[in-house]
Each structure stands twice: as C-alpha cells, then as structure tokens.
Symmetry: C2
C-alpha cells in the first residue's frame, strides 16, 4: 500500500441527496449498490474524494459518474463523522444536496451497471449506511431554506403557473397554503416575470405563466431586500 502517514487518517467521501419534483411528490435519486457492504441496498450517489479535486468537484464528479447528472444546483449540507458509520473502516463523509428539474435531466445508471432511480421522499426504501439520516438532514435544510432563499425555482420548469409554484411549496413544506395569501405574497415580492403566455395542452383552464427573474432578485438583494415566503 503505497500511501503511508505518521498518523491514522479517516477516509473522506462525498454523498449527494438529489431532489427532484414531479406533479405530486418530492423525489430523491438513489443508486443501487453492487458491492459489499450493503450490496443490493439503495444508497446516495457518492464516493471517495481525489487528491486533486475540492469537495464540490468530487460531488459533481460522482453525480456525473453515477447518475449522468451535470450542471445542477449543488450545496454542501453537513459533514458526518460517527465512528461506526461504515462497517469497513473509519469514513467521514461530506454530504451535499442537489436540486434538479426533472424534465431537463435524463438519469442514467453508471457504467458499472448499477441502477439509478427516483423514489418519493416520503416512501424511501431501506438505505445503506446512515444515508437515511443524511436524507432527513437534507430535507430539513431544503424546508428551512425554501422560506428565505429562492432555491425552489431550481425544481420547477423555467415557465410555471402560480398554481404549480404553490404546489411546490406545499409539497416540500408538507402543509396546505392559502391560495389567495400565497399569490398576494409571491407577487408582492416582485421577482416573477409575467410571460404573457398561458399553459398549453391542459385539461383545465389554461393558467398564466411566469418565470423567476434572477437578475431582478439579485438587484433587490443588493438593495437590502429580504426574500421571505
């Protein structure tokens, strides 16, 4: 073994909780492990950090390699270090969470033929390692951040109706919101652009479409504006 040190070192990994949203549910992307420990069990995409990359780069590389996902919203979540969390040896993992637009990305299994699949966040299979704890932490972070940062737009298509926007908040926050108050609040923030288009091919009455105006949002933040929904 060619890498020797004066003191013992934990192995260092990254793990990613990837969230997506469909009409009904918040989803989490999992891969099925083909090796022990936990062979056959579902787990978060992730792996060991390389010496020539930062943690962010490692997380993006692992996501790409294991699920085909690239250019997603990715943020560091928490570093988990319980002594016995990996049965093989001491492994410290830096957890990330990612937000993706489900329509934009075709998820593919890694080249080593492991399955990759989306699961409902509230109905996950039994996970490998302490990945259930990491998913809970990611969900809590997402729920907390949603209120004061416009990260939810990362989960929506670029054009969306106010109904779709409200559904996103309701699904993630796990509670119904009053329609009239929600619309009043969200429009008063003045960070949505009315596209003067309506939905196409819908059974119900076509709703007006909006997009998140990120430039306007950044300008307002610079001017001391507090996003809060």
């Amino acid at each position: 073994m060619p890498f020797a040190y004066d003191y013992a070192r934990p192995a260092l990994t990254v793990d990613c909780v990837v969230f997506g949203l469909d009409e009904a549910d918040l989803k989490v992307l999992l891969i099925q492990r083909d090796l022990e420990p936990f062979a056959g069990r579902w787990a978060l995409p992730g792996g060991f950090i390389h010496m020539d990359e930062t943690l962010d780069q490692a997380a993006r590389r692992e996501l790409q390699e294991e699920t085909g996902l690239a250019k997603v919203f990715l943020e560091q979540l928490y570093t988990v270090s319980d002594i016995g969390r990996d049965p093989r040896e001491r492994v410290v993992t830096v957890a990330y969470y990612a937000l993706v637009r489900l329509g934009d990305h075709h998820v593919q299994a890694a080249t080593d033929a492991r399955n990759a699949a989306w699961f409902s966040a509230d109905d996950l299979p039994r996970l490998a390692f302490d990945h259930d704890v990491i998913v809970s932490m990611a969900l809590q972070r997402l729920q907390g951040k949603l209120r004061y940062q416009p990260i939810g737009f990362e989960l929506l298509p670029p054009k969306f109706s106010l109904t779709r926007l409200q559904q996103m908040y309701e699904i993630i926050l796990e509670r119904p919101l009053d329609k009239r108050n929600f619309r009043k609040k969200v429009l008063s923030l003045d960070i949505l652009e009315d596209l003067e288009e309506v939905e196409q091919d819908v059974a119900h009455r076509a709703a007006r479409l909006y997009r998140f105006d990120e430039r306007k949002y950044r300008q307002k933040i610079n001017d001391g504006f507090n996003f809060e929904l």
Copy 2:
C-alpha cells in the same frame, strides 16, 4: 510511517471560530502559532481529528486544549477543501463556530505556551492559512442565524437589560435598530422572563433585567411558533 492505505488521503482537521461579545464589540478568539507554517501568525484554534472521536468531539477537545474553553455552544459551519490551503500537504478542515459568554470563561493559553487572545471581529490581525475566509463565513452564518434562532443569548450574561439585548443585535448585524420597535418586537415574542430585578452599580438609571426562557421557547417552537427578530 505505520499507517498505509491503497489510496492517498487528505489529512482532516477541525478549526473553531469562537465568538464573544463585550459592551462594544464582537470578539474572535485566536491563538498564536509557535510552529511552521505561519509560525508567530495568529490562527483559529484547531487540529487533527483522532480516529476514536467524532468531528464535534475533536472540535471540543481542541478548544479545551488550546484555549481552556469547555461547555460552549458549538455548531458545525462548513468543510473547506481548497487544494493549496495548507502549504505542507492536502488538508481538509471542518470549520465550527462557537459562542461564549465572555464573563463566564477565563481563556488560557495552551500548555505548549502559545498565546490565546480575543480580537475585535472587525480588526483582526493577519491570519494563518485561509482562516480569514473561515472567519467571514462564520460571521455571515452568525448574522443570518441571529434573525431566526435565539442563539444570540449564548453571548449574553444570563440576566440582561433590553438595552444590552438590542446592543448585541446591533453589534452583530452592524446596523442601528429602532429602540421602540425592537422592544415591542422582542417582548411580543413572549420568550423573555421579566426577573423583576434591576441592574446594580450602574451610572445611568438602572434598567429592568430579563432572562431568555428556553423552556418556553422550546414549547412555542413545538407549537409551530416562528422565532424571528
């Protein structure tokens, strides 16, 4: 070198940004390095993780060893992994921030005779490694969290006047607050206990003293209350 691995591993450390508050300033606790690299330069207390401890335990042990501080509020901040951040070798560090009551704790230098001292957060000396970046991140986290979690009380004595409480917010948020609005807001949260005592030995008119009622706060949080100041 007795510890050998199949793949290279970064060294893993913890570093702590310890905040304290006096009448005028937010303070940061620093230690003066006696070894290269950066010998003589001021730095955050911290060090290498042991194989039989979690990151939280490592942070508490290093704080105790290097500054004598024990039983402080401590929270993980961010894990920093820039490739060249340590000139010796690849070191990934898990940054923590701690909040202490200045009166409660006598800070002492470590047994290996390094200096430990408090510096004003807005007038720090040149720091070792990327510790200036870590301090900035900690300050930003503290400013952000202060608004929606009652962590500021960790910096105050157990009994405080509303003026002292307001000063704490003003010092950390770096802006003046309207006295009347502040008092109205903070009392309306109904998480302070009026101790029916007044300050002793003060030159100005003695102000009424309060304490943070943590039990009441937890109860309210369980009932769906949102702390926001």
